[in-house]
Amino acid sequence: MQAVSPTRFPFTIHHSPFTAFHMSELSELYQQVILDHNKKPRNFRKLEGANHSAEGFNPLCGDHLTVYLSLEDDAVKEISFEGSGCAISKAAASMMTQAVKGKSKQLAEELFTDFHRMVTGEEYEGSSEDRLGNLKIFEGVREFPVRVKCATLPWHTMHAALNNEELVSTE
């Protein structure tokens, strides 16, 4: 599915399911791209030959995922994840794998810092805005403080994997 879903019938006006509810913040949170990644998460598998991995839990909501990394010369050669969680955590994990694949360990960590700042509503440097790229669609999460941990869990877990910690828990 593409990010913008096509109008199914030529005679109907495409409308967002949100319109009737005037849920602008909600439509900000559940953007089509996020829903798409939730439905079809990318790099959603166990990574054979991974040399780093970590498990992440959110005991409050039961989100649980494992991030696998293949790190070569301090660069993320391959990354994947598996587990279960809400749409926000699943989409965040999916898009994270796309964002950090091929990046240096240092850049991956910097993206985590930027991402974390963005969803918690902290200031982040202007230059990093460009660096975050399409991850910026998670900006809406800041309006939902209880959901921030859903979006950051995959990142915390990746950070743990990069640093050889086996288990992280956000609460």
Binding site: L26, Y30, L60, G62, I88, C150
Partner: protein, 423 residues
Amino acid sequence: MAAAEVTSFEESTQVRSRAFDVQNVRADFPVLHQTVNRKPLVYLDNGASSQVPQVVIDRGSLYLEEEHSNIHRGVHYLSQKATTAYEGAREKVKRFINARDAKECIFVRGATEGINLVMHGYGRKFIGPGDEIIISAMEHHANIVPWQMLCEEKGAILRVIPMNDAGELIQDEYDALLSENTKFVAFTHVSNALGTVNPVKRMVEQAHKYGVPVLIDGAQSAPHMLVDVQELDCDFYAFSGHKMFAPTGSGIIYGKAEVLETMNPFQGGGDMIKSVTFEKTTYAGLPNKFEAGTPAIASQIGLGAAIDYLNSIDRVKAEAHEAELLRYATERLSAIEGVRIIGTAREKISVLSFVIDDIHPHDIGTILDQEGIAVRAGHHCAQPVMQRFNVPATARASFAFYNTKEEVDVLARTVERVIEIFS
């Protein structure tokens, strides 16, 4: 307290009752009359914490404005006022659950503390290596973890009564678990995650055949049904005030006097002693033996006021109204394609847990919240129940007598919208 004031359990619930009218009772709860995210609040998280009527708020304020003082130790006016109000609340609890004696009603922070009190006071004294403790598959963590801790400490063994796919405890399996090795049994009256009402009277009888004491977790039953601990014949019954229209920090562990007498104290400190020297301390009698330190006086007085409030409405009609809400909500949600109800026991009250295909309960909860609807989304502190039904979590609507069918309609419409958003 004057004997004339002490009416029987049945009398006290009927004498002052007035006809049940949902709009009438809603008017008693200030918190319900607000908008959330620009929508009228639809409060369906009563299983976690129920709301507080104005009379309970007023009673707490009266204490703080005119009676605040420490209890049981002052000869002065205020201390006597506070003590009278606090002990008066205990009398109300006694009548509410029909205990034989008010001293059998120990004030605790909530059901969790009540269960821990029994684990420490009874379990650590009487449970030993190889002894078996039976709990059920549908327990809240509060009725699992303390017993696990005890088993670990004592080398005792935890046995679990399994449940069927409807979420009912399998009675034959329970009977088979009971043996000479069983030394304690603890189960919930009503499941907080499934709404199942367990046949507790029968289950108590079975355990008593082996002379085994039984604790009932009443956190989800006390607010919704008439409870008579003498009729149930349970040895312990725990409940929380904040789930029955009283403030947080209030709650009760009931215990039969003869069992409580044999137990070790829970916490040590002021108020729970007869005399203290560095060589030896002798403990106070019931209930003070189990109430070390200054309790949550205002909250417990509030619990007494909440009981007065419950006595002032027709609880039989309130129960019938809640049953109708649950029936209607089950019908509405079951009719939505993709919705699955978790917990379909024949005997069920107040709780409707559900999942939607491919949509995580947290996403459901967030979207419902945007429409002003408060539900619980998660594992409900009952992870083994989630594992049993092979779901990571559920969304849970839990009702009180002040909820309406119109609110159920709003819930059903919004659940349909959730599915639309994720389609």
